[in-house]
Amino acid sequence: MSTVLKSAGRGWREITGNRAFMPSLIVAGFVFSFAAAQFELLDPYVQLILMYVGINIILASSLNLINGYMGEFSVGHAGFMAVGAYTASILTVSVFPGGATFLLFPLAVLAGGLVSALVGLVVAVPSFKTRGDYLAIVTLAFNMIIKSLIENLEAVGGPRGFLGMEKLTTLPWVFFWTVLSVWIIRNLVYSNFGRGVLSIREDEIASDLMSVNTRHVKLIAFVVSSFFAGIAGALFAHLLQYINPRMFDILKSTDILIMVYLGGIGSIAGSIIGATIFTVLLEILRPMGLWRMVLMPLLLVILMIFRPRGIMGLREFRWFVPLHDFLAVRLWRRKKEAADASS
C-alpha cells in the first residue's frame, strides 16, 4: 500500500514539476470555462458560484500581498473594490453605452483596476510612517470615507445604488482575470521586490539597512494589491448588475480578511483555498439559514486557535513556485560540481 502511495506521490511530483504543467492546466481551464458558459455544461447556479469563487480569489490573494506577505494589517480592501466597481460601471453604463459594450468590457474592468491602483498609491503613503494598528486604522478610515463619499454622490445614485449594467461578467472572463491576478501576484512575490516585501514583514529596519528601498516596495505592493481589488470590484458589479455603497462596507472587508487568514498568510495557494472554502461553505450551509452565519465565525475561531497561521500558513504548493527559482540552488550546485571536476 505504502509503495503504491509512494510511487503515486512520485508520479504526481513528476507531473507537477513538469514545465508544461501549469500552462496546460490553465489552457484546459480556460477552454472548459468557455465551453461551460457557451454550451451550458454547468448549471447556471454552479457557474454563478464559480464566478464568486474567482472574484474572491482575486480579492483574497491581493489582500494577502499586503497582510500576509508584507505583514501589514489593511482592513479596508472593500474600499478599493468599490472604486473599481463604480469606475467600471460608470464606464459601461454612462460613458459608452450601446452595442459595443461587450468589446469595451475588458477596458472598463482595466480602468476600474487602474483608478483603484491610483487610490492605492495615496493609501500607501501613510504606510511609510505608520505600521501595524495605526495603518489598520488608516485603511479602515479609508474604507469608511469611500463608502460615505459614494453615499453623498447623487450622480451615481448615492445610498440607493447604481444600476443599469449588463451582465457582462462571464465564467471565461472571471477565469482570465483570476489567473492573471494570481500569476502577477506570484511573479511579484518571487522577484526582487517580493523579497523586499517579505523582508519588510520580517524586520523593516533590518530590511532598510540591507539596501531595500522600503518606500518603493510598499508603493508597488499597495498599487498591485489595490489594482486587483478594483478588478474584482468591476467583475462583481457586472455580475450582480447592481451595486450600492453598503456592499463595500467594513463587513465586506472583514469577509476578505477571513478568507485570507483562513487560507493562510503569505501563501497564494492559501488564498485560493481560503476563498474557495469560504464561498462554497457559505453556499452549502445555506439551508441552515441564519445559523450558518453563526457557524462560520465559530469555525474561523476554532481554526485560528489550532492553526494560527491558517490552513497553508507561509507554505506554498511547489508548482506555484516559478521553476527557475525552484531549481536555482540545484543549478548552481551542478555548475559548481562541473567547475570543480574540470579544475
Binding site: Y134, I137, L140, K147, S148, P297, V301, M304
Partner: protein, 291 residues
C-alpha cells in the same frame, strides 16, 4: 449660543458613551497589545441583556444595569479564556482575526435568537428641565453623570490599587512582570472584566437613549469608539476618555452644520488628519524601536 450649548450637551452624552467603550479597547490593548474587535459587539450584548432584564425579568434600572455589566463582564472573561489566551504566543494578527470572528459570532448569534430590532422599555422617569432655552432630560443627566462616575472609579482602580498597579506593570513589560510574582492570567481576566463591563454599561445607556437596539448596532459604534481610543492614544486610559468626548463633539458639530450623511465622512477624515499630525494620538507616546 443656546443652540451651541444644546449641542454641547448632546456631544457630552454621545461622547461619554464613546469614551466608556473606548476604555475597553484601550485597557485590553494596554495589557495585551491586542485590538479586541469583539468589544463593540459586547457593547451590543450589554444593550440586549438590559432589554431582557427590563422586559422579561421586569427589573428596574439599577438591577438591569448591574445585570448587564456582570453578564458582559463574564462573557468577556470567557472569551478571553477560550479564544484569546491560546493565541498569546501566536502571531498578533491571529488574535485580531479571532476577535473579528468572535464579534461576528456574537452579532449573528444574537440575530438568530432575536431577528427583529428591539426596544428597551423606559427605565428612567422622563423629565425635562430648561435652563435659559437649553433643555436637559433626566436621561441625559444620568448618562453623563454615570459615565463620569464610572471613569473616575476606573481611574482610581488603575492608579491606586494593587490590581491597577499590576495592570500598568504588565502593559509596561510583559517578560519581567510575571517573574515578580504577579499573577498575569488573573490580572488579564480582571482587565477584561472591567473593560467589557464598561462597554456593557455603555450598551445600556445607548439602548435607553436611542430608540431601537439591533444585533449590528455594535459595529459602527464599536469602530467609532475604537477611533476614540486611537485619537486619545491607544493604551492610554485618560486618552480614551478624552478621545471619546472629542469624537462625540466632532460628530455632533457635523450633524449640526452639515447634512447628516456627512457625519461618518467627517469623523473619519478628522481621524486621518489627526493621525498625520499626531501619529500616536493625543496622549500616546511613540514606541521607539530598538536596534
Amino acid at each position: 449660543m443656546t443652540y451651541l450649548l444644546q449641542q454641547a450637551l448632546n456631544a457630552l452624552q454621545l461622547g461619554s458613551i464613546y469614551a466608556l467603550i473606548a476604555l475597553g479597547y484601550t485597557m485590553v490593548y494596554g495589557i495585551l497589545t491586542m485590538i479586541n474587535f469583539a468589544h463593540g459587539d459586547l457593547f451590543m450584548v450589554g444593550a440586549f441583556l438590559c432589554f431582557v432584564a427590563a422586559t422579561y425579568l421586569k427589573l428596574s434600572f439599577v438591577p438591569s444595569l448591574l445585570l448587564s455589566m456582570a453578564g458582559v463582564a463574564l462573557l468577556g472573561v470567557v472569551i478571553e479564556k477560550w479564544a484569546y489566551k491560546p493565541l498569546r504566543q501566536a502571531p498578533r494578527v491571529s488574535a485580531i482575526i479571532t476577535a473579528l470572528g468572535v464579534g461576528i459570532f456574537l452579532e449573528n448569534f444574537t440575530l438568530a435568537l432575536c431577528p427583529y430590532p428591539k426596544h428597551i422599555p423606559p427605565l428612567i422617569a422622563h423629565e425635562m428641565w430648561s435652563f435659559g432655552g437649553v433643555s436637559i432630560s433626566s436621561l441625559q443627566i444620568l448618562i453623563i453623570l454615570l459615565s463620569i462616575l464610572l471613569m473616575i472609579l476606573l481611574d482610581f482602580i488603575v492608579r491606586r490599587t494593587m490590581v491597577g498597579m499590576a495592570m500598568r506593570a504588565i502593559s509596561w513589560d510583559k517578560t519581567i512582570v510575571p517573574l515578580m510574582g504577579v499573577p498575569v492570567d488573573r490580572v488579564i481576566s480582571i482587565t477584561f472584566a472591567i473593560g467589557t463591563s464598561l462597554g456593557g454599561a455603555a450598551g445600556v445607556m445607548y439602548g435607553l437613549a436611542y430608540p431601537v437596539i439591533d444585533p449590528y448596532m455594535g459595529i459602527m459604534v464599536g469602530w467609532k469608539a475604537f477611533i476614540s481610543a486611537v485619537v486619545g492614544g491607544i493604551g492610554n486610559i485618560r486618552g480614551a476618555m478624552i478621545g471619546g468626548f472629542i469624537l462625540g463633539g466632532v460628530e455632533i458639530l457635523v450633524a449640526a452644520f452639515l447634512p447628516s450623511t456627512y457625519r461618518d465622512f467627517v469623523a473619519f477624515a478628522f481621524l486621518l488628519v489627526l493621525l498625520i499630525f499626531r501619529p500616536y494620538g493625543i496622549l500616546g507616546k511613540p514606541h521607539p524601536q530598538k536596534v
